[in-house]
Every structure is written in structure tokens, then in C-alpha cells.
Amino acid sequence: MTSTEAVEPTAGVGTEDEAGAAGADVGARADAEVPPAPDLSGWSCPAPLRGRERIVLGHGGGGALSAELMEHVFAPAYGGRALSTLADSAALEVDGARLAFSTDSFVVRPLFFPGGSIGDLAVNGTVNDLAMSGARPAYLSCGFILEEGVELDVVARVAEAVGAAARTAGVEIATGDTKVVEAGRGDGVYLNTAGIGVIPHGVDIRPRRAAPGDVVIVSGAIGVHGVAVLSRREGLEFEAAVESDCAALGSLVADMLAVTRDLHVLRDPTRGGVAAALNEIATAASVGVVLQERAIPVPEQVASACSMLGLDPMYVANEGKLLAFVPRTEADAVLAAMRAHPLGAEAAVIGECVTDHPGMVVARTGLGGTRVVDLPLGEQLPRIC
């Protein structure tokens, strides 16, 4: 993973506003004319603060703030390879073998949500990060950070979920760790997993390989996980027959690679959703992406929940979906292979890669208009406006 993660009441889904310096420090326009009526020329919208001295939730939202934290704090401190880990996992050469290596931390509230738990997320999240480099996930570590006072039963249920998810994904929990923090200094259970997997010969999947002409495929309906978790968030609760799509994608990727080794990019659109993932790829590869909005599978409940809260499904988190950039010549075969797999039954071509507007993602709307799908700033907030 490339950045920190925070999933708290309002984090993890997301839309429209861009970031910026506070409007407060803009110099006065000495030459501005002041009309006698209310001064509309001074009309301005407050800009979100950027120059922060403390961590805010948005730093974990997977958007621009996360990227800045990575760029300004971690990369300079670590040096070397860290800056290049724009991909979900790092590819390492060890004695001739190519290994994928990834780590991820999980701070989900609530711990159990419709369709899964923090345990499922911790395993599948890291398995998927490995799979997105084409690796066959093999071994995981799992660290528990427990808060003093949390019920043993809760810990046991989380551990069982970890074990079950690992068995389903075909990986082994090879090592682990447990720490306890004082009551009030944690959120019940935090998990960290790290994983390694083996990248098959001839496979080179990373964001920079996206190329004009590539077809963009999504493996199924988007926004499901984010809406399932939101439906249980304090202050926002609603009833919806939506369960998290949390799943391990290793076997789906294996089936795709069985058709062609020439997959260019794979990405699981977690925090920041499809919008953030596509923007990162477009930026890394200096290509444009054009989406056909009507082709993007959005379940009715996801669309409804998003319109109720003022969110955009493209910015809502997924935990069991992938985006694939595939050469046009391979697209039909890859799509067929995906649809033959239970986790890709609703796979669809949603767009293509172009030479125009490098670094930008654009969507053709249902009415035939166009909108720019920008990188979210931080976490997504329910709107009233």
C-alpha cells in the first residue's frame, strides 16, 4: 500500500471539492471597485485548509492529502524505493524470483458490518494488493493491536474471520503479533497485515504500463462496500440490503493471467473509489482516461444511498473489485475469463485510455455531456448542498 488508512465516521468515500490554501491569506485587491450595493466582487468561497500542523482524518482518505503525506513526510525520510511504490505492492527481486510485498493497516468502525468484518478486510486487503501486481499471494503476517477492556469474544470472532478469509484466499498466516494499549487509546481492535506473493515469469503489471488504446474493465458493481459500512455509521444509519463486497481477488487475477500475461494495470479501487484509482493510474502513466458513465455498474441501493447523502458512487470504497487496463486486442478474452469467475460475473468495459488530457479522468454522462472526475482531496463528507 502506498499510504495510511483511516476509516472513521466520514472517511473513505468521496467527491467533489478540491483542496487549497485558505482563502484567508489572499492579499487585498487594491484596485477592486467597490459598488455601493452589497459587494459581490468580494464574493468568495472558503477554501479547505491545506497547511496543517496535525494529522486530520483526511490524511487517511486515499486522496490528495494522503498523497501529500507520502510525498512530504515518508518518501524523504525513507529514501530509495518508497517513492516509487505507486502500485499497491512492491515488486522485489530475490535470488532470481520476483516477489510482491505489501502491508496494510485496518482501523474500521464498526468492526463487524453487513457482509464482513475487520478480519475479512485485513486478509483480503493485503491479498488483493499482492494480486494487483499479478502475484500469487502466499504468506501473510497478522498483527493485532487490542484495546484494554475489549471482550475476548470480539477478539475471537475477528481471529476466526482472519483464519477463514485466509483459507478462502489460499494463503497461510505465517507469523503474527499482539499488543495491548490502555483503555481509551484504541478502538477495540486494529489489525495490520503484511503479505508476500510470487510474481509469475513474464508478468509485468503496474500503473505506469497503462497505454493509450487500453480498454478499462471493472470486475463488477461499484460502491457496495462503502455503502454497507456507511449504513452502520453512527449518525448516518440507514437500512439497505447491501453487503460488503469484501473478497480475495487472487483467483480472479489467476484466471485473467491464464488468458494473457499482457495485462497492463490492475488496481483494487478501495479508499477514494474508482475515481481515485483511475486518477492515480492516469497520473502515473501520463495517459488520459475516458469513461462511459452509463456502462459503469452501480447497484440501485448504492445509487440511492449516494443520492441521499450527496455522494458520488465513483468515490465510494470497494473491497472486492478490481480495475484492469488491458490491450484492446486482449479485451474480449479477458472479459470472458472474468465473467466466467464468480467474482467477475458482472465485469464490464467502462472506458478506455487515450493520449488526450494526460493525467486526467473524464466521464461521458448519460445525457452526452462530459465531466472531469478529479482526485478526491481527503475523505468524503455527506452533503446537504
Binding site: S231, F238, E239, A240, A241, E300, Q301, A303, S304, A305, S307, M308, G310, R383, I384, C385
Partner: protein, 101 residues
């Protein structure tokens, strides 16, 4: 300013002396306060903003609006005068509203 969405009333109940309803927004159900549209009935649609029903949605008006849109192009082809058609439809709208008042 006002993100308000249409929903269908599923159940109505008094809670702590307040008229509340379960409202279905396309498969998503949320509790909504009916104090401002107290005569809403189960099965009717309402426009909801921050957990409050603010107005009953009028199906007849909605149908008329859509019919007007549909007739725009057709009338233009047949009669070449979309304004007149719209004018007539507007008068129909107004008449209908007067009835509702």
C-alpha cells in the same frame, strides 16, 4: 443548497409525540419526520431533506410535466410551433395547480 430526494412512505408511527415514517429511497430505508406533511399516507411519495418530509410529490403534475416534454418534439414536427404547445401545457399546469390550492 438543498439536497432533497424523493422517497416512498412505507410505515408511519408516532414516536415521543412526533410523527415519523420509514421512507424508501430506491431500496434504502431511512427514518423521516412527517411533522411538516402530517397528512402523508403510506404509499405516497414525498421530498425529503435532512430527515424531514417537506412536500408531498404530486404524481399528476409529474405526469403532465413529462407529457409536455414528450409532446414538445412531436408537436414541433407536426405543427412547427413548440411555443404554443408549451403555452397550452403551461395553462393546463396552472389550471391544475389552482385546483390543488
Amino acid at each position: 443548497m438543498c439536497l432533497a430526494v424523493p422517497g416512498k412512505v412505507l410505515r408511519i408511527e408516532e414516536r415521543d409525540g412526533t410523527r415519523m415514517a420509514s421512507v424508501d429511497f430506491g431500496g434504502v430505508v431511512k427514518e423521516v419526520c412527517l411533522e411538516y406533511v402530517p397528512d402523508l399516507r403510506v404509499g405516497e411519495y414525498t421530498i425529503v431533506h435532512v430527515g424531514f418530509a417537506l412536500q408531498r410529490l404530486d404524481e399528476e403534475s409529474a405526469r403532465q410535466t413529462l407529457e409536455l416534454f414528450e409532446n414538445l418534439g412531436l408537436l414541433e414536427e407536426e405543427f412547427g410551433d413548440p411555443w404554443q404547445a408549451a403555452e397550452d401545457a403551461q395553462r393546463a399546469d396552472d389550471a391544475q395547480q389552482e385546483v390543488r390550492l
